[in-house]
Every structure is written in structure tokens, then in C-alpha cells.
Symmetry: C3
């Protein structure tokens, strides 16, 4: 029996199995069509090569789409955080921008972003630039199963697409916070569209699309950025810095006598809702980046992510208490985010105590960074440059220090992506400034963008 079995080729064996195990199925299918029949047809149709671990594929794919939904809810987190930390007269504007960003981010990703992010063999400049067109029918090539990515990708084409699409809009959302309260809406809408469609996807292709960052040292010294400390958060932070430098601070923020006027946010509950939702969604952002439901790394990533955030919150609370003499809620909230950005590059590659250390250092960095940028008159209402830009650098380098990545490659990757993001964003912003202006008038800024741009107010408490 044993001998006989060994002689049989895989496909035949599989056929036999199918007959044996599922012999009942065809007959049943005639009576009653349902998911099992469809599922078994898939198994059979896929042939021997892709037969193994079908259920592993299915559960991995399920996780991928759930993770996509979790990353989606981060956009609500960004929207409420940004709204909470700014003035109530600009709230409609901020919410509007965030509806725009997620909408245009998803659509452009289908139209050209996905294939530019992953140029595969369609690079115009190999390893550096590959702008390509719309997605096709991603379920086409046996795409319901291993057919799409082969055994190296436990998700369907649409799973791959929707998870990455949810990431794409993030870069623009980070900028949105930094330029809030004085940017011209129409300019921002054009800026964010181009940034998401081309800027983010080109930079991302260098690492995740198989570009030059993924082949450093012939691949042996490849740049390592698990879920995007650099290629998502750092990109957004560096783009924000360029935009803010060109845009200038909010009116009255920095007086001529050198004093800094605090412009406080209008709703701390809204800000806190935002940060907790971001934390929640980050389980999809990092956890989904395992790219399968492999239980070992999945549990580790959830744990390092949560503990880095917690350590960032604690260190930020303590250090800001010392520096600012008060237990500051904004800093506590930014500390959680700092911890999250700091672990994003290495969530699968460090121990839990390294994760806590990385998060705690991120929580300290963010406090000093926010104070520093305010001192040099870079006016970032929500601290986005510090949270995403500065902690993005730290998180990326930390994988070289703790997680076994090549530290030099990490440096190269940070510099490559940050410089590109800064230049791309800056050039785009300067062009927009020349062509149509990027800033509202001083009167409009004083009146608030809600009235001047939208003719709506965010709150109406006196209506009877």
C-alpha cells in the first residue's frame, strides 16, 4: 500500500482524495448549491500545486480583509484627532479634507496606485520608478486562491489591493494635520491627490514593490521596514515638514517679540477618541502586515505593538510632566502614537522588552521634538511631524539596533524616503503656490475655514 502510494503523482493522489473525501459532494451540489461546493470546486480546480494549506489561505485572507477594515477606521482616528487638536472654527474643513483623502486615496489606488506601488515587471526605471495603470480583474488568474501570488502570498488579489489601498491615504492624512487651519482647500485637494497617487506609491515601490531598497547588498542587506515606520509614517512626516515650511505658521502663532502663542485644541474628547481609534486600527496596520494568519508572528506583533504604545504613553506622561510641570493630556496621547510609530518598522523582529524600550524612547522623543519644532517656528498644530516623521526615523533605526536589520541600510532607507518625500511634497507645494496659492487670506483664517471655505459651522448649540 505504502509503495503504491509513493508511486502516485501528486495530482492523481489529490484527485483520489477528492473523490474519496468529497465523493458525496457532486451529488449534493445538484441538490443544494452552497459555499462548501464552491469551496471544494476551488480546491479541485487549483490542482496539486496549490492544494496544500487551503484553509490556511482562507483564514489568512479573512484576516487580511479584517485588517483592512481596521486600517480604514484609522482614518476616522486621524480625522477626530486633527479636529480635536485644532480650533472649532476649522472643524468642518478638517472633516471635509479627511472625507476627501480616504475617497480619493482609494480611487486613485485602483486607477494607478496599486500597480505603481507594485510595478512587478513594469518599471520604467528599474527599482526606482514604475508608473502603471488600473487594476484589472484580480480574481482572474485562479485569483480566488494561491493562483494570484503563488505560495508566497496568502491572500487573493483583492485582499492584497484593499489592504494596501487603506494604507495609501495615510500619507496625505498626516500632512493634513500639519497644515491645518490655514491651508486653502482646493489646493490641498489637488496636493493630496497627487501625493497619494504618485508620491507615496513611488516611494513605497522602492521597498514593498521590490525596488532598490529591497535589494540593498544584493538583498542580504535589504532595508527592513515591517509595516511602514519609514515608507508610510516617515513619508507623511517628511512631506508635512516641506509643506509647513512653505506654508508658514498660523497667523499670530509666533509674535515678533519671540513669544509663542499657544493655540489650544477645541475638544480633547475628540482628540482622545482619535488616538484610541488609531491604536485600535494599528492592530490591523501592524497585525495585517504579517500578511497571513501565521499564529507565531501574529501574536508577537499584537503584543509588541500594544506594549510599545503603552510604554510610549507612560514615558511621554512622565517626561512631559517633568518638562512642562503639568501632566499634559496632549503629550500623553502623542506618546501613545509615538510608541506605535516607533514599533511599526520592527514589530515582528524584536522582543517585548525591546518593544517597550523602543516605544518608551519614542515617547520621550516626541515631547522634545514637539517643543523643538515649536521653537524653530515650524507650526504643526497636531504634532504630526514629530509623531510620524521623527519617531518614524527612530523606529526604523531601532530595527537595526535591536531587530537584526542592517543599520546602514536603515539609514539609507530613511534618507532616501525622507528626502524624496520632502522634495516631492515641497516641489508640488511650490508649484501649487505659484499657480493658485496654497494659503487662505488672513481674514479667512481669522474667520475660520468653516465659514470662509464651506459656509458651514461645525457646532450650533443655540438653535431653537
Amino acid at each position: 500500500m505504502k509503495k503504491l502510494l509513493r508511486k502516485l503523482t501528486g495530482p492523481l493522489l489529490f484527485a483520489i482524495v477528492a473523490i474519496a473525501v468529497f465523493d458525496l459532494t457532486p451529488a449534493m451540489a445538484q441538490e443544494e448549491a452552497g459555499p462548501v461546493d464552491e469551496y471544494l470546486e476551488l480546491v479541485e480546480a487549483s490542482g496539486a500545486e496549490y492544494a496544500p494549506a487551503f484553509d490556511f489561505f482562507t483564514v489568512s485572507m479573512l484576516w487580511t480583509v479584517i485588517a483592512a477594515a481596521l486600517v480604514f477606521i484609522m482614518h476616522l482616528g486621524f480625522a477626530t484627532l486633527e479636529a480635536g487638536l485644532t480650533q472649532s472654527k476649522n472643524t468642518v474643513n478638517i472633516l471635509f479634507k479627511n472625507v476627501w483623502i480616504i475617497s480619493i486615496g482609494l480611487v486613485t489606488y485602483a486607477v494607478l496606485g496599486f500597480n505603481t506601488h507594485y510595478p512587478v515587471d513594469a518599471w520604467q526605471i528599474p527599482g526606482w520608478l514604475g508608473i502603471n495603470g488600473p487594476i484589472g480583474d484580480l480574481n482572474a488568474d485562479g485569483g480566488d486562491t494561491w493562483g494570484y501570488g503563488g505560495l508566497s502570498l496568502a491572500m487573493t488579489g483583492y485582499g492584497d489591493f484593499i489592504f494596501q489601498a487603506m494604507f495609501a491615504a495615510t500619507a496625505a492624512t498626516i500632512v493634513s494635520g500639519a497644515v491645518a487651519e490655514r491651508i486653502k482647500l482646493s489646493s490641498f485637494m489637488i496636493y493630496s491627490t497627487i501625493l497619494v497617487a504618485f508620491g507615496y506609491t513611488i516611494a513605497g515601490s522602492w521597498h514593498w514593490g521590490g525596488g532598490w531598497l529591497s535589494t540593498l547588498g544584493g538583498g542580504d542587506a535589504a532595508f527592513y521596514d515591517f509595516a511602514g515606520s519609514t515608507v508610510v509614517h516617515g513619508f507623511g512626516g517628511a512631506a508635512a515638514l516641506a509643506a509647513v515650511m512653505i506654508l508658514g505658521p498660523r497667523s499670530g502663532k509666533y509674535a515678533k517679540d519671540g513669544s509663542i502663542k499657544p493655540i489650544v485644541g477645541h475638544s480633547m474628547p475628540l482628540a482622545a477618541v482619535g488616538v484610541f481609534l488609531l491604536f485600535f486600527g494599528w492592530f490591523g496596520f501592524n497585525g495585517g502586515s504579517v500578511l497571513s494568519a501565521n499564529p507565531g508572528p501574529l501574536g508577537l506583533v499584537f503584543t509588541t505593538t500594544a506594549l510599545a504604545a503603552a510604554a510610549g504613553g507612560i514615558s511621554s506622561i512622565l517626561i512631559s510632566w517633568i518638562v512642562l510641570k503639568k501632566p499634559d493630556l496632549s503629550m500623553a496621547l502623542n506618546g501613545l502614537l509615538a510608541g506605535l510609530v516607533s514599533i511599526t518598522a520592527g514589530a515582528d523582529a524584536v522582543t517585548v522588552f525591546e518593544a517597550m524600550l523602543m516605544g518608551a524612547i519614542g515617547g520621550v522623543l516626541v515631547v522634545f521634538s514637539i517643543i523643538f519644532f515649536d521653537k524653530i517656528k515650524i507650526d504643526d498644530p497636531v504634532g504630526a511631524i514629530s509623531v510620524h516623521g521623527v519617531c518614524g526615523i527612530w523606529g526604523t533605526l531601532a530595527v537595526g539596533i535591536f531587530g537584526g536589520a542592517n543599520l546602514m541600510s536603515q539609514f539609507i532607507g530613511v534618507i532616501g524616503v525622507y528626502v524624496f518625500a520632502f522634495v516631492f511634497s515641497g516641489a508640488l507645494f511650490l508649484i501649487l503656490k505659484a499657480v493658485m496659492g496654497v494659503r487662505v487670506s488672513e481674514e479667512e483664517e481669522f474667520e475660520g475655514l468653516d465659514i470662509s471655505e464651506h459656509g458651514q459651522e461645525a457646532y450650533n448649540h443655540s438653535n431653537t
Copy 2:
């Protein structure tokens, strides 16, 4: 035997393991009880017929309950959207109504709704009416596995129940928004209970319960409504229209000189939170309607759902900007929802570019529809009739245009369900009006329902 085994290579070992495992399990169970033992007992107990694809069943069932949780959070989305788009003096009332709706919706669904929605062989008028009693022990008939629904349903009886139960309250929630700010609480509580318990479930039985809509053309031309553009959203929208027509507009909304007084919402952040949560929950609403974790359709449905929403947001932003001369946040938010309703009937049956087109058209429709209903003095504070009713029609017909469904059957389904919803809701509302009144007094309306009905205020910012 043991010696022999040691010599065998891994694969064969694994084979033997499989034999051993399924054989040894009872013995192991004695030593150590745990989920595997229980699981394997289930596999054995189910016998040959249901043995295949056990893990597929398990992962599909997991997705079903997660999707149920996602649909649940849509109720928070509805509550905050409705509260945000109305006046602050009616906020307690709105939140209260939504607590009531989800509570009574779940309980009535257990008491009679589920078995009325799925009458199986207990129709009183076959294909049209089958009002039945409470659910029993849905795990009874080998219900932990394929035993409940056979190979055609990859979920347990409780999975089936809880997912559908979360849908049930939606119809009443849609009406809640349309009648807000002037409806009498006690009347609404009775109305919503009967609507959810009988109206929604009867209409739903025509399609999902195997009723006449599912057998059009002998089943070959069956009405197609994947996740409920018509049988959930359209039902709610049509019911809302009847209710609003009987109830009349809010005082002062339409002046005698023909002018329309805008009554603006009190909190756009609350409204935006609502829409983003609805978008988030819709991944469960549509994704869960795959009714399994089958990776092919699951990825497609997530993608079409997200892209239709995004396209609806964009088209609504652009068209309302042209029509209203301002970038309107309410319209942007309604555009996202319009896109979602528009794709709900065909999320699994169209390409991603068809999905975007369907969503974009929905986003245009909703803008003109809201303006139209306001012109004809149908006062719908949140635009529910337009979002759910009008886009529900569009979404359903669109599956006939793009998705291969029979267009005539789609028409018949829309007319059947909308007319029934309109008549059921209208008759119920007229009876309540005659018996106990459906509207608060003008003084109460002016004072606000929070004080007049609840003796509470939603906000208290001056307390020290």
C-alpha cells in the same frame, strides 16, 4: 510498530498521525480536555457526510460573528449621524430612540422575527407570509456544525441568527432619522417595534426567506439583492417616506411664503463619526453577506464596497460644489453613504470599475434627491429617504444593468418591497396617530424633545 514509525519520513508520519489522532482522541480527552478534543469529537460525530471542510466551516463561522459585531457598530453610526445632523435640544431623544431600537430589535428577532424572516416550511401564505414563534436551541441538531444548515450554509444556527438580528433593527433606525425632532417618543417606540418585528421580517422573507421574490421565473429570474439595497435600506427608506408624509415637517421649516428655513445640525464631528462608523460596519454588512469566508468573493466584496463608497464621496463632493457653490460636508458624508447603499445589492456581482460607477451615480443622485425632497416639503432632517430609499432603488436596478440580474425582476422586487414598506408603515402610523397621536405639541417641539420628553439635556457645559 513504534520502531517502524521512527524510520518513516515526515510526510508519512503525518499521515499516520492523522489516523492516530482521529483514533486516539477519546483517550487523550481523558487526560486533558480542551478545544482540540472537543473539536475532533465534533468532526467524528458529524460523520462522513459532513466531514469535509471542517476548518472552512469554522473560519466562515468566525467571520459571521465578527461581521455581526461590525453590523452592530453601525447602530452607533446611525445614532451619532442622526444626533449630529439635528439640533442639540433633541439629542437625548435621538440617542434614547437608538438604544430602544437596537434592544427591541434584537429581542423581537429572537421572539418571532427570525422564524418570520425565514419561515422555511411554516408559511401561512406560501411565499408571502409566515409569522412564526421564538427560536429554539439552534445548536440542537448537530448545530455546532454543518448539521444546522447542511452543506449550503457555513455557519451555525446562532451565527445565522445573530448576524441577521443585527440587520433587523436597521430598518427602524433609518426611519428614526427621517422623523427626528418632532415625533412623539412613545408612539415611535411602538411603531419601531412593530416595524422591526413584522414589517421588515415579512418583506425580508420574500427574498431571503425563500419567498416569492426568490422564485421569480421559477428561480431563473430571481430577484437579486446581495446584502439588502432593497430589502433593508429600501424598506427603511420607503417606510420613512410614509411616516414623514403623515407626520409633516418640523415647525417653521417651510414658511408660507415658500421659503425654506435651513435647520442645521448641531455637531458635524458627531455626524462624521457616524458616517465613518457606518462605512466601517458596512464591511460586515456586505462582507458578512458572503455568508462564508470564501476568499474570492470576500476580497471582491470588500473592494467593491470601499470603492463605491469612495466614488460616491467624490461625486457628491464635486456635484454639490457645483450646485450649492460650496464644498458641503453634509453632502460629502451623504455621498459616502449613497455609494455604500448603491453597491449593497450587487457587491459580489460587479467589477471594481462598475462598482465605482455605481457609487458615483449614487453620489450624484443623493444630492439632487435631498434638494428635491426639500423642495416638495418632505422634511427629512438627515436625508435618510434619499440615501437609503433613492439609492436603494438605484443600487438594486444597477445589478440588472451591470451585474447580470434580471432587470425586470429587479423592478418587481423594488416595487413589491417599497410599496409594502410604504403601506405597512403608513397604515401603522395612521393607526397610531388616531389612537395616541404621533407628534409632540408645538411647544414641546420648540422647547426640544430632550426637556419635554426626557427632562434631561444632552449637554451641560456651564456646571461648576
Copy 3:
């Protein structure tokens, strides 16, 4: 051949499949490394003993981490509920406390909580006390698979850790609500740290860590608390009672003439958001406590949880309407939570109608309990003692009445845990009171903790 196969029994067939399928894998692995290869290596490496049901393990582990994320979002629910039901002048303080609690809760759980909660063989006083050190590499002992917990635990070590870690901070969060608006921040931060690190984990070890409550009657009459009506919610409620008794009521709450001044919450939308998020997260809290993706219990637990909450909401609405003469939103919201706490001990052990009855009784209890505690001048701004403490008792005993648990053991468990929580919390609070004070000054309380403790305001609506 076909005939031969037909004769084979099910298990052998499985064996053949295993040979066929896994035989091809090594060859493939050389070509293309990916999750499947890693996954199959795991399967092989784990050896015969742990080979079965790998996919069941994977899907169960996925559910565990998703459930952890759902429990995480409960912390946002607690934060917003507590903020909403209190005055706006204390909102920053409340949000800050909640950032602290989740952060320190996660970190202490890694440093000592987990190994104290589950002392395994490292008890100092067997069955009663086992304080132990930090977690190590929980993926070490073949921890990616059944290696960590054997066949009795369908999750990895990190899955186990992160799910339990999310529970841990809950106890402190419950206290946070009860002591709101007058507690000194620094004292609360120390208190909550010790309560979470030692108090909760020690009490939990008695039941979930294999301690004395799990061995009552030699294990035959073991205390039964499925997801923690007593060991989580009851613990928090009893700890809160001790804290409130020592702390005293808010200034002016109880006048000398015996009258009670209502101090109303500042934002009912925030409170409602909190309760709906708690309801949402409870699907992870109870559903995750199935500790696997076993479809039978999973569907049942989701159903009983939702229906108990709904019944609690309805009964609370009706009874409070009768008692208070008004439909009270706070009571409606607390009714949902009361239903949830009431089902938590027995969610897997009762029928759906028993679940509704348990929830409905919880909803009644919470109304009278809140009124009662107010009468005896226990000032609990959010009703935490009633919701978590009182309904925790009811839910635990109800499993003895309806769910087949030993009623005497349930009594013993309640008394044991509640007395311990009360004494631990009280002693800790008294020490803190003596050493550094636990209450802000009357001026600070009057001014609000936001200004006096943080120098920040939660809302700034007049900024231009």
C-alpha cells in the same frame, strides 16, 4: 483503485491526503519562500502529538488577537462613558486617567501581572498567592503552535498574553469612574498601578490561574465565571465601593438637609458612544473567552451576550420610566451595561431565553441599585458600583440558578473576590490617604481638575 478507496475508512483517507499534499511541499519551498512553507514547516516540526487540527489552531489564534483588539476598544468606551457622565471641567483629567490605566495596565501585566495571574507551579501560597516576574519569550517552546499550551489551549503564548492583558486594566477603569471628579491624580495613578498589577491578578489567579476557586469540591464544584462577572467586573465594583467610601462624595452632592443635588453629565453623546463601544467590545470580551473559534459555543456566546444586553436595556428603560416618571437615557445606557455584566459569568452556559431573563433582571437591579447608593450617600458619578459590582453578583449567582454551576461555590466565589477587592482597595486607599492624600482641595474640585491638575481645558469653543 477507486473501488479500493471507497472501502477505506475516513481516518485512513485523511492519512492519504496528508501524504499527498505535504509530500510536494519541500520541493516548492526551495523555489519560493512564503507563509505556506513556513506554515508547513511548523506542521512538520511540531511532530505527531501536536499535528492535528493545525488550521483550527490558526483560526482560533486569529480570533484571540481580534478579540484582544475588541477588548482594547472597551477602554475607549470606558473613557468616553466616564467623561460623558461627568462635568466638563473634569474631562481632561478623566481622559488622562484612562490613557494612564491602559498604558500601565499593559506594561505591568508584562512585567509581573501575567505570571501572577497564572502562577502555574510558582505559587508562594498554593492556590492563593503566586507573585511572579516578567514574561519571557512566549514563542520559545514551539510556542508558535500547540507547543505553548498543549492541546488544551488553541492559542500561542502571546495570544494568551495580549488577550488577558487587555482585560487587566479593566478593574482600574471601573474604579476610575466611581472616584471621578474629586480624586487626586497622582494618588490615583499609584493606586491604579498597584490595583492592576497585584490586586486584580491575585484575585484572578484564584479562578483562572488554577487557584482555590477552581478546585472547590475537588474541582467538581468549581466556581464558574465564564468571562469574569465576578473576577473582572465584580472585582472592580467592590474595589470602587471601598475607594468611594474612603474618598467621600463630591462637594455639595449631599446637602445637610438631606437633599441630593443632581450633578448631571456634560455630554450624553459621549456617554452613548461609550456604551455602544463597550457593547461592541464585549463581543471580544465574552466571545474571546471561548478561547477558541469552536463554532458551537462561539455563536451561542455572541447571541446570549447581545440578547442579555438588549433585555437589560429594555427592562431598564421600562422600570426607570415607572420609577422616575421619565424615559431616562442614563438608565437606558446603564441597562445595556447591566445586561452585559449579568451575562458575562454564564454566557456559554445558558439558553437564549435564560440570557434575556438574566439581562432583564440586571436591568432592573441597576436602576434600584443606583437609586439606593445615592440614598445612602455613596457618590458614584457613573453608576460603576451598581453596574459592575451589583450586576456582577447577580450574573455570577445566575449561573448557579440557570447554568448548572454549583450555587454554593458561586456564593463562595463572590464573597471571596468581593471581600478581597474591597479590603485590598480600601487598605491601599487608606495608606495613600495617610501618605499623600487622595482628594483634591475643595477649591480645586470647584475649579475642576482640568485646570487645577492639568492646566488645560477640554473644550475651547470661543477661540478666534
